[in-house]
Symmetry: C2
Subunit: 352 residues, 2 copies
């Protein structure tokens, strides 16, 4: 067992040991020996020594000198419900061949934490940032902009920045599919459960829900709309929603659209626990088509969110902004349009 040396080997040490200059070592170690015509013998000696002494290049020094980090900061909301899994898989496909490395962190819906993570990205001089926005971080966004570090927002975008770059699912269009499905299966008291925060897509989703009801001539009862603060945990939101939507002695909704499948599965579970039958008493439709929804025991109706594609497109947008820093805002709203009818709305549904 080799005993750990006091410190990792440097190019200077390698050079000294071989009696050559550090630059030659640097050239060889970066694979430039061909272009710079380093003799085969020297190349061999350098590689040999590097292997023997376990040389590992120092990224800080390299970044400092080259004035670029090759890192892309990625700040997500959480690792729950496999959303991060699908998104990062999509991103990885794009980044793989580019030499850029994503650096993933989560803000857990806490503004302070998000601000801290964002600052970390800036301090590390990440070349671009991909993030799930949170309200109240305008100062932090502004700092990034002032440093010339582009931010690509995913899932939604800050309502305060009209020219923000973003890649998101056109969920307002697809929530229409969801609500129309509920109307079509004969539901008339259609409720809404979700988050309440001031961002364009979130607002648009709620508007879309209302507009479908309006056009269908169905009532929009505030008692059937439960929108909780993002600062609450999903569990808390569900608890409050249940308390509000199913007040004893009050007519409860006969169908509910839920902001995303994570919430929807929690709601489904809570509803069943309360002895309310799904879909007999109340039909349930989520959004996202998260993996969990497909399980036979869950079989949650939903609309598909192209998560991996959002990841790919966000990654592409980031790369694009790196090669063309000054360009009009990249604002992509990905359509999807895949309604997944399962047991929580139609008992016998195939669930594809």
């Amino acid at each position: 067992m080799a005993k750990p040396p006091s410190h990792p080997v440097t190019t200077v040490e390698l050079a000294a040991r071989l009696g050559i200059s550090p630059s030659t070592v640097s050239i060889v170690l970066r694979g430039q020996s061909e272009r710079r015509k380093i003799s085969a013998r020297t190349v061999e000696r350098v590689l040999q020594a590097a292997r023997e002494l376990n040389y590992v290049p120092n990224q800080w020094a390299r970044n400092l000198r080259r004035q670029k980090s090759g890192m892309i900061g990625v700040i997500l909301a959480s690792f729950r419900w496999d959303w991060a899994q699908e998104l990062t898989t999509g991103m990885a496909e794009v980044f793989e061949s580019t030499g850029y490395t994503p650096f993933v962190a989560v803000h857990a819906y806490q503004p302070e934490r998000a601000r801290r993570e964002l600052l970390s990205c800036l301090q590390r001089r990440d070349e671009a940032i991909i993030m799930v926005p949170l309200p109240g971080l305008d100062d932090a966004y502004e700092r990034a902009r002032a440093m010339g570090i582009p931010i690509v927002f995913v899932a939604d975008r800050p309502s305060t920045l009209a020219d923000a770059h973003f890649v998101a699912w056109d969920s307002p269009a697809d929530i229409k599919l969801a609500v129309e499905h509920l109307v079509q299966i004969g539901r008339r008291r259609i409720g809404f459960v979700g988050f309440d925060y001031p961002m364009p897509l979130n607002a648009a989703r709620y508007r879309a829900y209302r507009s479908v009801l309006q056009r269908a001539g169905l009532p929009i009862d505030p008692r059937w709309v439960a929108r909780g603060s993002m600062l609450l945990s999903p569990e808390e939101i569900i608890e409050k929603s249940i308390a509000q939507l199913f007040q004893p002695g009050q007519p409860h909704p006969d169908a509910i659209v839920v902001q995303h499948d994570g919430l929807a599965t929690l709601l489904l579970d809570a509803i069943r626990t309360h002895g309310i039958r799904v879909p007999d008493d109340v039909a349930l439709i989520g959004m996202g088509d998260y993996p969990i929804t497909r399980f036979a025991g869950v079989s949650l109706s939903t609309v598909k969110e192209p998560i991996a594609e959002i990841g790919r497109e966000a990654a592409k947008a980031a790369l694009d902004l790196l090669s063309h820093p000054t360009q009009p805002p990249i604002q992509r709203l990905l359509p999807c349009g895949e309604l997944k009818i399962r047991h929580t709305t139609v008992p016998g549904a195939s669930g594809a």
Copy 2:
């Protein structure tokens, strides 16, 4: 809207602008002004200028100079099934107050990717690494050791390193609980579905499974044991397992223990799709108590894995190794002992 400057502001520029020396600026910006007795006026001017010019310290330069990064590399298998969510939440609790930042990446069970991520940690001079081990990476582990960067393995440990640091759940002890439960509810043809890879805990789990059967005088039929390569996707493993365990015309197991709840939920779903009743035809018990198992529609019996605690303890171990680099191996096997009896083994179970 401020136009982005060509490059971020440096301490030298700040100093030049204020007509003072960079060292004074540095002292103030690191909050050392008290100790170093910088005049209140100077302090104020520096902070003011930093704010105005949007100064953000350059982490590379700082790290390079101080010879420490404050970063802990974390390499997990994937972001699926909320395992990463719980683990990183546990770690964050410990790291929060320390100034260390975890840097999360995943290897997706691909040795090449794991090697690459590990090398990234070394190049970044992460001060410690916490990782889910993968077989065949001994060379990479050795490089870390040679550089004096401690690795804390989680979930299992490389069988080749007797003195590796690790924090894991004592799953072999708890798989006994699972199998004994199956025996107790009268099952006699108890199968096993999991991964096949050469690591101590994985081997011990399988041995524990066998030993319970042996002691109960039950048969151990190789046709009922399906252990797939880690290189296969969970979906592939399940597909192969089903094909093997439920061969037409052959007696199939009447109960199955599954390596972890992610696999188990997939298996549960596949089994139901094949028209096999759970638990009537076959009982199912997983391991981990992942969030998904608790849903009414899934209600998977399982044994609890203290994931957040593994995260906390691994983080503590890493910090411990940073303050006391030379010490006997930290090898923690966390007991848990919580059997969760739900519907996939006992139809009426409460499922707590």
